[in-house]
Structure formats: structure tokens, C-alpha cells
């Protein structure tokens, strides 16, 4: 036990050493460049080593229990754990009372399929959209530290048009630690999410899983599809490069052409009937607050409904 505390102390000291690094001091920046990878590697290796040590000395259950007891004494979690467990087994036994098993039969077992069925990946598409959504949230938080939602057109030292937003994108792509890889992963998971949401909708359609108890889920899904597309669209504009600007022009045209309430739509979504710096501010707020809020709430309801109703999986 004492040895563990020692290891904890050492890792803690290393973390403290890493904390006060400021990007403004060149020496520290140099240190950060040099030691970020080793530190990450060391702490990961330390975690693996620490857990391995506890496992092989047989101390792991005790440490886990101590942690659990510490939390449980304060928050009385055992109540909720037993509640959740009771709920789960009551669901299982009510659905399949005759089996007496703790886990319901899988699709493969129920229909006596001898191998993994090649349609199974299509049933994972909803889960994979959710997975991509989580990745997007994590990488998006990192990008948000550096991105500046300033779309005012200014001239750079060569007399070319640029903007604060575009300059911050250049910074992320060239200067920021991990900026390139984080943006690339954000980019690819965004494309993946849109694709997998489309395909998820197709699988739901083609197996007819939107029928009777699941209509609400279909409608929630349709809203989620639009949220996803709108996420993509608003994000497309944020770098404020020529491509984003062109897409903005098309979107603005579409918004203003809506009969009667066109100008109002343009005002709400684009911050005016012209593409200006305000457009970027709008898109930013939609992209990082409004859509995540709506999307997260809807995804939670959507998946809770699947939890309650089960998936429709024909054979």
C-alpha cells in the first residue's frame, strides 16, 4: 500500500512539473516540445505498469475496493448500483422468463445462425454515429481552445484578404501542438458521422424497423439527421476560407429564397442578408452551443428509446 502511494506521489510530481509551462516563455516552450511526448508515454507506461504491479501482487481488488468504499461512504452509491442491477435483471427475466439466464439470447442463438451474419455491421451504424459524435466532442473541445470566431475581413502584410478566423486556422494547422492531427481527426470523424447516419437511416428503412412502437424514434432520428447535416454545414464555414465562403453564399441564397420568411431565416442563421464577419459568429455559436445542446439531448432520448424497446432485427 505504501509503495503505491509513493508511485502516486512520483507521478503527481511529474504532473506538477508539466503544469506551469507557459507558451509565452521560449525556454519552457522548448521544454514542452521536447517533453510532451515522453511525458504522455511515461504516464501511460506508468499506468500500465502500476495496474500490472497491483494485479500481479494481488493488491488490485483491495485498491479498487478502497476506492469504491471511499466514494460509497460519501455518496451511498450502493443504493443506485443495486437499483440498476435489479432493473436490469427484472428486464431480462420478464422478457425471457423460461431461460433463467442472466443474459438474453443473442440474435445468432435465437435463429441458430452458425456464423457471424454479414448484415450485423449495418446494425452497428447507429452506435458508430454515436462513437463519432463523442470523438467529435473531444477533438472539438481542443480546437475550441485555439479557434477565434472572428470573420471580419482584414488585409495581411501582403495585401491579401484574410480574417482572424482564418489566421487561427493557419495557426492550428502549423503551430499548435497536436493541432494538425486533432483537426484531421475532427474532419474525418465528421465526414464519417454524416455517412454513417445516412446509412443507419437506410438500414432502419430497409428492415422496416420504424414500424409501430418505433415511429417516435424515426422522427427523432430524422431531426437528428438534420442536426448532423447542419453541424457539418456550420463547421464547413468556420475556417472562413474560399470554400466555406462559397458554401455560405449558396446557403444564404437558399435561406433568402424561402417564401415570406426568407429574410428572417437569413437573419437567424447567417446574421444578415450579406456574408460578413457576423456570419462566422453565428455559425460558431450554432456549431459549438446550440446544435450540441439539441443533438446531445435528442441522442440520449433516441438511445434510451432503443434501450427500452429493443432493436428490430429481422431474420
Amino acid at each position: 500500500m505504501k509503495f503505491n502511494k509513493l508511485i502516486g506521489l512520483v507521478i503527481g510530481c511529474l504532473a506538477l512539473f508539466a503544469l506551469p509551462v507557459s507558451a509565452e516563455t521560449p525556454i519552457l516552450e522548448e521544454l514542452m516540445r521536447k517533453y510532451t511526448f515522453p511525458l504522455i508515454f511515461l504516464s501511460m507506461a506508468g499506468a500500465v505498469f502500476g495496474v500490472g504491479y497491483l494485479y500481479f501482487t494481488g493488491l488490485l481488488p483491495r485498491v479498487l475496493f478502497d476506492t469504491w468504499a471511499w466514494i460509497d461512504e460519501r455518496f451511498a452509491l450502493h443504493r443506485y448500483v443495486s437499483l440498476a442491477r435489479r432493473e436490469y435483471y427484472s428486464v431480462v427475466y420478464t422478457l425471457l422468463p423460461s431461460t433463467g439466464r442472466t443474459i438474453p439470447q443473442s440474435h445468432t442463438e435465437r435463429y441458430n445462425i452458425k456464423s457471424i451474419w454479414y448484415w450485423y455491421p449495418f446494425y452497428s451504424l447507429g452506435g458508430l454515429s454515436f462513437f463519432a459524435y463523442i470523438i467529435l466532442t473531444i477533438t472539438g473541445i481542443y480546437l475550441g481552445f485555439y479557434y477565434v470566431p472572428d470573420g471580419e475581413f482584414i488585409l495581411d502584410e501582403n495585401g491579401h484578404s484574410t480574417s482572424g478566423a482564418y489566421q487561427s486556422m493557419e495557426l492550428i494547422m502549423t503551430q499548435v501542438t497536436f493541432g494538425y492531427i486533432i483537426r484531421a481527426i475532427h474532419h474525418w470523424s465528421a465526414h464519417f458521422m454524416v455517412a454513417s447516419v445516412f446509412l443507419h437511416m437506410m438500414r432502419v428503412y430497409f428492415v422496416g424497423a420504424y414500424r409501430n412502437p418505433r415511429e417516435v424514434n424515426w422522427i427523432l432520428g430524422a431531426i437528428l439527421l438534420m442536426v448532423t447535416i447542419f453541424f457539418g454545414y456550420t463547421g464547413y464555414l468556420l475556417p472562413w476560407d474560399s470554400l466555406g465562403y462559397a458554401a455560405g453564399a449558396i446557403g444564404l441564397e437558399m435561406a433568402t429564397s424561402i417564401p415570406a420568411m426568407g429574410p428572417l431565416m437569413a437573419q437567424i442563421v447567417f446574421g444578415g442578408t450579406q456574408l460578413t464577419g457576423d456570419t462566422v459568429t453565428r455559425m460558431y455559436w450554432l456549431h459549438i452551443f446550440v446544435l450540441p445542446l439539441i443533438g446531445t439531448v435528442l441522442i440520449i432520448i433516441h438511445m434510451a428509446l432503443v434501450w427500452i424497446q429493443g432493436e428490430g432485427e429481422p431474420h
Partner: protein
């Protein structure tokens, strides 16, 4: 009293507490209201679907890193409101091309049918079709989205038309393979095909 003894006491106390809780809850056990509905006989999200998903997630995160390492995300020239956009072509992202295609089709129809560009009652904005191409295009997009939202209800109505007596009942909660429901499958394929066509149209005459 040593540290281990204290931990042992706490452990026993917790165990006792937990079993008391469980016993009292099992004694006052209630039916789960949701489960009374006999329609619900789906595949469980947990643990079955979660297992399948987590296996695939590992492949997908690897795919993300692979793509991120070899194909850089684009960052073009800075936006310049004074310059014309020759390159890159003014297209939306790939998943919005169908919507753009709708606009183009409406635009071509307006050009091809000269009647529609004749002003109506001498008003500039209103022509014989009473609307301009942009308005038509936007409305068509709204219509498509509306059709997608209405799928469960259209499906039911279709069932009722095909089999007036049982049609809307028989489909209740019945997921089926596409081959068992050829009409629905055909409509779906038609939908995908038209989506593809609009997408193709969006690339014409850039």
C-alpha cells in the same frame, strides 16, 4: 486497530447494507410498466448491440488515425469577398449536393420553359409559375424532408390501401427483410436512385 481491520469492518458493513437493501427491494418488487407491452421483443441494446459496436469502434478509431495521418484536411485560400471564386468550385459538402441539385433542376426548368419567366400581372418577382426557380428548389427540398419524416405513417397508409382489412395492423412492429416486403424495398431503392441523380445534376455546368 490496523488499517486492514478497519477496511475489513467497512467491507462487512457495506455488504450487510447492500444485502439489506436488495432484500427489502425484492420484497416490495413491482412490475416494470414498460414491459407489460407485449410488442416489445427486440434485440437488446445492452449487452448485444454494445458488444458488436465496441468491436467495430476499434476499427473505426484506427481508420480515423489512418486517414488523419495520410490525407490532410483542406484549408484553401482565405475568403475574399472581392474575388470571384474560380477554384474551388462553389459547391457545398458532398452530403448537401442533393439539395444543390434540386436548386439546379428548378433553375434549368425555369430556363427551359420560357413561359415560366414571363412576368405575371406585370410583377417582376412573380411569374406564370407564381414562383422562381430558387423558391421551387427550396420547396422541393422541404418536401423531401417531409416525406422522410412521414415514412412510418406513409407505410401504414400503404398497408391499409393494399389490404383494407388488416393492412395497417399486420405491419405493427414487424421488422422484415426487404425481400419479404418488395414494395417498400423498391420505394427505398427509388429514393436512393433519385438522391443519386440530384447529386449528379449538381455537378453540371459549374
Amino acid at each position: 486497530m490496523s488499517e486492514d481491520d478497519a477496511a475489513q469492518m467497512i467491507y462487512e458493513h457495506q455488504e450487510e447494507q447492500q444485502s439489506l437493501d436488495t432484500i427489502s427491494k425484492l420484497e416490495n418488487r413491482e412490475e416494470h410498466s414498460v414491459l407489460e407491452a407485449d410488442m416489445i421483443k427486440g434485440e437488446p441494446l445492452y449487452p448485444h448491440e454494445v458488444t458488436r459496436d465496441s468491436v467495430l469502434s476499434l476499427y473505426i478509431i484506427a481508420l480515423f488515425f489512418y486517414l488523419a495521418a495520410f490525407i490532410p484536411p483542406p484549408l484553401h485560400e482565405a475568403a475574399d469577398p472581392t474575388a470571384g471564386t474560380a477554384y474551388p468550385p462553389p459547391l457545398p459538402d458532398w452530403y448537401l449536393l442533393w439539395a444543390f441539385g434540386c436548386l439546379k433542376v428548378a433553375w434549368d426548368i425555369q430556363i427551359l420553359i420560357p413561359l415560366s419567366s414571363i412576368p405575371f400581372l406585370g410583377l417582376e418577382d412573380i411569374n406564370l409559375f407564381l414562383m422562381t426557380a430558387k423558391v421551387w428548389g427550396t420547396l422541393v427540398q422541404g418536401l423531401i424532408i417531409g416525406l422522410v419524416v412521414a415514412v412510418p405513417f406513409l407505410d401504414r397508409a400503404l398497408g391499409a390501401v393494399i389490404d383494407p382489412q388488416y393492412g395497417d395492423v399486420i405491419n405493427r412492429g414487424h421488422e422484415r427483410r426487404p425481400i419479404e416486403d418488395p414494395v417498400r424495398a423498391a420505394i427505398g431503392v427509388y429514393g436512393i436512385a433519385s438522391h443519386r441523380c440530384w447529386k449528379q445534376v449538381s455537378w453540371f455546368n459549374i
